[in-house]
Amino acid sequence: MGERRASTWSEAAKGPARAELVDVLFRRHYAALLRLGVVMLGSREAAEDAVQDAFVALHRNRSTLRDPEAAEAYLRSAVLNRCRSWVRRQVTQRATRPLLLLREHEKSPEETTVVRDEVGSMVAAMRALPRRQREVLACRYVLGLSVAETARLLTISEGSVKAHTHRGLQSLQQRIEVTP
């Protein structure tokens, strides 16, 4: 698999145009990155925008573009960054809206639990975790990266990856409905 990828890549790399390299990367990674974006944002439209943005940025980054592994890491990191910015924009919009007299989304314990068989309820709960926790969980379980790969991608230590994974899962565990 690795050899085939490398050979495909070197064929593309021989080509003169950056557009061809982007094309190869696009076909190879678009769907996976889109899935990552959907998990992180809960919106296909926003995810498509984040992935497109990441590829535009990659197109400008010639040195990364020439190295397939670096390009893949760059794209993943760029998508996560754009997801983060999107969430931050949502929060900033909230911060400038008129104040809420009472708590928004005041949920009963029934509403905050994760319903075991309801598709998407665990992923929705994951999106509500602190940023590092949700990013680490996305790297591990959406992208299928190892602890070491996650640490490299997020530029944090392997210990931090383990700690954030543990805390994130523990947080999700607390929300799982206890079924008799």
Binding site: R60, T92, R103, E106, V114, P130, R132, Q133
Partner: protein
């Protein structure tokens, strides 16, 4: 793999399994990407052209100025050196208001749509809490100082890893009773703004801003809270009462701690009564202690027939059956501040 991991992996598979990319969608997405890359390229070209054009103007002017300086007959004002690039403040609009002063911040504030209560009291004390014990035993307490729009908090009491930390926040009183805060140096671990778990990296939070509304003295917005008559129900035994409450219409706060102590506060958070509270059925009784500033030891306030309404946070009211201290707060409806 733990059961939570399994559930998460299964749910991710279910969610991402629904995200299909057909060949035509991929082609379309690729075309959109080409358009965006082309758009970007054109913007870059325009930028380069503008930079080259600007350089073409600057070089002769700079040459002329240099020549004049060398000739020593420069009668004009010295050339203005370019100042540092002005950084864009993303919170400029959010912080558009009066700089905080000890007088403006004095009192009790609640984080909008949050659970944290903050108290500033003279001369320079500050306390923060999100567990309904702001006055009895706040999560964090310490001193504060204000310089321009910056409030710096030195933590003196609080959870173990919080002691000695310094927190800094830019603040702006946007109008009387409303304050916007941006944490420029959030606390670490337990000292993070929303008091999450120990060791959570403050940098991992999506938002570092707070909207604060004043509970004491009560802002106009908070004093306007009311419940329709139809929403009142009999208080159930399960409804917990411990926590921080404000009176409907504002003016006072009541803190009921889990260990049975209570405080009534007025003004900017001064204690006007304190003692022990108890609940029997639908009756709440507050019995003043010897340390109460305005009531005598043993004075009782008994509220019977307690009723409850929930408009996102509990409201409680009762009928005054006994009011030994003649407290002005006795007949009020109480609104729990989210914790």
């Amino acid at each position: 793999m733990s059961s939570t991991e399994e559930l998460l992996v299964r749910d991710i598979a279910a969610v991402t399994g629904g995200v299909e990319v057909t060949d035509s969608e991929l082609r379309q997405a690729r075309e959109v990407l080409d358009e965006r890359i082309e758009g970007r390229r054109q913007r870059d070209r325009r930028r380069i052209f503008a930079a080259v054009a600007a350089a073409a103007v600057v070089i002769p002017v700079a040459g002329f100025v240099a020549l004049q300086t060398l000739n020593g007959d420069d009668k004009s004002a010295p050339p203005v050196r370019p100042g540092p690039t002005k950084a864009v403040d993303p919170y400029a609009q959010f912080l558009d208001g009066a700089d905080p002063t000890a007088d403006l911040v004095k009192g009790v504030w609640r984080v909008d749509n949050g659970t944290v209560l903050v108290r500033f009291s003279p001369p320079n004390r500050v306390a923060m809490d999100n567990r309904g014990r702001l006055f009895a035993d706040p999560d964090i307490s310490g001193t504060y100082q204000i310089e321009g729009d910056l409030i710096t908090v030195q933590v003196e009491e609080g959870p173990a890893d919080c002691l000695g930390q310094t927190m800094a926040m830019r603040a702006s009183v946007t109008k009387r009773g409303l304050m916007h805060v941006v944490h420029t140096q959030p606390g670490q671990g337990d000292c993070a703004p929303e008091f999450p778990e120990v060791a959570d990296d403050p940098g991992s939070y999506d938002d570092v801003s707070w909207g604060l509304e004043q509970v004491l003295p009560t802002s106009k917005i908070l004093s306007g809270l009311a419940v329709a008559e139809k929403d009142w129900k009999k208080l159930s035994r399960q409804q917990p009462l411990a926590g921080d409450w404000m009176t409907q219409g504002g003016g006072q706060m009541l803190e009921l701690t889990r260990n049975g102590d209570y405080s009534v506060l007025a003004g900017t958070g001064e204690v006007v009564d304190r003692g022990q509270w108890s609940r029997q059925g639908s009756t709440l009784t507050l019995t003043s202690s010897g340390s109460s500033p305005s009531c005598s030891a043993g004075d009782r306030l008994a509220l019977g027939g307690l009723e409850y309404a929930n408009l996102g946070t509990p409201f409680v009211r009762g009928t005054v059956e006994e009011n030994g201290c003649d407290g002005a707060w006795a007949e009020k409806t109480w609104i729990m501040l989210p914790q």
